[in-house]
């Protein structure tokens, strides 16, 4: 029971932190993608969607190459800041954040596209500069869809497995999330423990999806 609770809290914490971490860049990128055509837009669009279709294990491998001790970013972080990434909770955070980023961007982009651009123009004609108009009109009007996107990203983060297992491994008490825990227990033939984690995951996923749907459906 203690282990299940610990894993559940760890998973929730990592998913929450990952979602908050990706929120600012995801919102900024979603807004940029919702605007009319600009150079290189379609390339960026495709790159952002890539983690949705590439096998998560492959994404994990790429992350391992980047953040590993001999990776260009991992080596730098360890040399200058003494930060270990791979096979720590930080790796779990990075993997979940990267994997939920595309979902967040997609949902937020739809939310921005649904905001009538005339509201932004009206704000401009009332003396609001571009940033002012964004934060006081466009963002509040898109907020419902953005929150729905955040919940979706959070739900995705809760269940992340493939990329996480590559970069964080299965280290009990350090990197084990609900998804990794289920796999780990089944590997060891501990079906009851796996079932407990399965129940928790299912309940959390259900709650998150239900909330996300509700947010999208109900008009502001």
């Amino acid at each position: 029971m203690g282990e299940t609770l610990h894993i559940t809290l760890f998973t929730l914490g990592v998913a929450l932190a990952g979602t908050l971490l990706v929120a600012p860049p995801a919102i900024a990128l979603a807004w940029a993608l919702s605007r009319s055509a600009w150079r290189g837009k379609s390339v960026v669009e495709t790159l952002v969607a890539l983690p949705l279709v590439v096998p998560p294990v492959a994404t994990g491998l790429v992350l391992l190459k980047i953040f590993g001790r001999r990776g260009w970013l991992g080596g730098f972080l360890e040399d200058t800041l003494g930060l270990e990434i791979v096979f720590t909770w930080r790796a779990v955070l990075i993997a979940t954040a990267v994997m939920s980023f595309p979902l967040f961007v997609r949902a937020a982009r739809v939310a921005f596209e649904e905001v009538d651009p005339r509201h932004n123009e009206a704000a401009r004609t009332l003396g609001a500069g571009p940033l002012d108009a964004f934060f006081t009109v466009t963002l509040p009007l898109a907020s419902r869809g953005i929150v729905a996107g955040a919940v979706l990203a959070f739900a995705r983060a809760l269940g992340e497995f493939g990329a996480t297992v590559m970069i964080a491994g299965i280290i009990p008490g350090e990197t084990v999330t609900l998804a990794l825990g289920i796999y780990h227990h089944v590997q060891l033939g501990e079906d009851d423990e796996a079932a407990a984690l399965l129940g928790v995951s299912a309940a959390l996923a259900f709650a998150a999806l239900w909330l996300s749907e509700r947010l999208v459906r109900k008009p502001a």
Binding site: E121, T125, L126, L141
Partner: protein, 373 residues
Amino acid sequence: MSTPSTTSAEPIVAQLRVARPDFSLDIALTFPGRGVTALFGQSGSGKTTFLRVLAGLEPAASGFLSVNGVVWLDSARGIRLPAHRRALGCVFQDAALFPHLSVRQNLDYGRRRRPTNGGGARGSALDVGGLCELLGIGHLLERRPQTLSGGERQRAAIARALLASPRLLLLDEPLAALDNARKAEILPYLERLRDTLEIPVVYVSHSHAEVARLADYLVLLAGGRVAAAGPLAETLARLDLPSGFFDGAGVVLSGEVVASDVQYGLSTVAFRGGVLRVARVQPDVLGCKLRLRVNAADVSIALRPPEGTSIVNILPARIVAEAPDGCGHVLLSLDLGSGTLLTARVTRYSCDRLSLAPGLSIWAQVKAVAVAT
């Protein structure tokens, strides 16, 4: 009728171009820095694009624009004031108010960002209270825009635009999304604004009635170009307007009620150049100013003062111009004296039979007069 009097206002000078693959706008226009200028034209004529260029919402626009002596755009000198630095108010056709804010918060949005002391609207005090009273929205301040009627929403949007202390008010078909009852509800407010504020208003419309009632100056657009521009009465009386602009030719006369006859239900309206008797106007107050529309098709010509006719309004006039209208008709411009012009549409047959030609003195029989509402 609208005479925001003495102070001289600098004209608005616009030489603007927008080139898009499917549409090009090329406008060279100077119009008064006071009163209501109506932009009239069919959809696709460039009315809304022109308004967006004035507002600074069209990044592709180039040329020159000065309002109230301030240069807003001068491509040659690399000047381009962004939309939020232009002291203007804008009211769009619909989607006017921010749905996530209350009416009061909507009104505050522009007011907070543009302090009134910036030399914006002259003359009248544009405080929230006075404006709410003028527009009849004082009781709506705590409501959400979604709970307002279309007319209330447009009035609140006009108040919001005015509270941003504009030097130019742009109205893009503010009544187009409303039914006739709602239109009739807003028009008096617009008239009051026009007569109270000394801010030039550019009013985009495709409604003849609104133009006849509100405009002081008329700009006709076609295919992204100015087809005609000038003071309302003068421009409407022109015979060389491209056909198809209005349902038919006609003029607008500004006058005031000088007598009323309750028994016969008639009001007498005097204008420069004569009087017309019309079906009793509401409110039937002596001295009440109003505009009359006379369609050319409702004006016929007699060489001698007609006798034994049921037509009430018969005015002496002189033919000053003639132009063909289709193959079977002729448009005649009639001077009623003092330069007030009336347009008559007669058949080519009658024109030739009566030898109607410029210079001839005749009698104009006006079959119907509409009060512009």
